[in-house]
């Protein structure tokens, strides 16, 4: 198997790179069609939202800490805090809450 492993990796990397590279190199012009433009404008918001929820609830050791991180990050993001601040605050909330939960239970 170990002789094969790098071939597997090559296949994986090749396929994944092509998926990423072809649209970026083939679509060079600005798309004029309003519908397609609007569609592409909405794409990141939908993909990110779909990836956030409900996955954030199962990312941590307990759904409660995940939910707390969700609320904290949403509030901070709403107040216009930076990527780094929101992200580290979410981590801190989980860390403290799980520590506290362990302490109490």
């Amino acid at each position: 198997m170990n002789d094969n492993i790098y071939l597997y990796i090559l296949v994986m990397a090749g396929v994944t790179y092509l998926i990423r590279m072809l649209p970026l190199t083939l679509i060079k012009k600005e798309i004029k069609n309003t519908y397609i433009k609007s569609f592409l404008y909405y794409v990141p918001y939908v993909t990110l939202s779909v990836m956030i929820f409900p996955a954030i609830l199962t990312a941590t050791a307990s759904a409660w800490s995940g939910a707390a991180a969700l609320v904290a990050a949403t509030v901070l993001a709403y107040r216009g805090k930076s990527l780094f601040q929101v992200s580290t605050a979410a981590c801190a909330v989980v860390f403290v809450l799980e520590w506290a939960l362990e302490f109490l239970l």
């Binding site: 590279m21 649209p23 970026l24 600005e30 592409l40 939908v46 990527l83 799980e98």
Partner: protein
Amino acid sequence: MNDKIQQFRSGLKDGVPIGLGYLAVSFTFGIMAKKAEISTLAAVVMSLTNLTSAGQFAALGVIQNGAPFLEMAAVQLIINLRYCLMSCSLSQKLDAKMPFFHRFLISYGVTDEVFGVSACREGILGPFYAYGLIGAAVPGWTLGTLLGAVSGDLLPARLLSALSVALYGMFLAIVIPPARESRILAGVVLVSMAASFLFSRIPMLSGISSGFRVIILTVVIAGAAACLFPAEEKQGGKDVS
């Protein structure tokens, strides 16, 4: 020249949460790779060359089963097809006159997170900003894999648990501020989350892989939003500049 360094630095800075989040996720990947009897070097090479979470986790099973290469290619294609949508979206953020080699290099780093930060940034996406993001993401992903494979006990579980929300925190920091300014975007965000939740709960739909879920919901919801509110792009259209 200074402008390029400036861009690279600002990319690196915005990429720190990506790197931290990746560290936690790839740490788990390193542990799993070791369990799947994949050598540390191979695991690290895989992370460095693929830079994708779901695809790599799925690959472990494929490799363990000794499945044909074609199956590996198909699995990666299905799981990672969402990058195709992301790259399409990103293509509109790049300067049309930008040399091809920049496009080839940026392509390497189109992950969910790098895409999220790049796509929602105002104005044209400069290649050096993207390199900054990628430059912060790749070490996190690769180093985490190494640490996980070498020693699964190196980081305490609680710290790993905390770090694993870094990516979600970052996603929220990306989608919430524009959603605050636009009720349409707020609706899109809420509908997307609700639909994603339903997909994870409804028995017939919950079997769909997460990669496909992203593709299906993105096509349907972004498609519907584009039908209903085609002009939104112009309002938020600072990216046309």
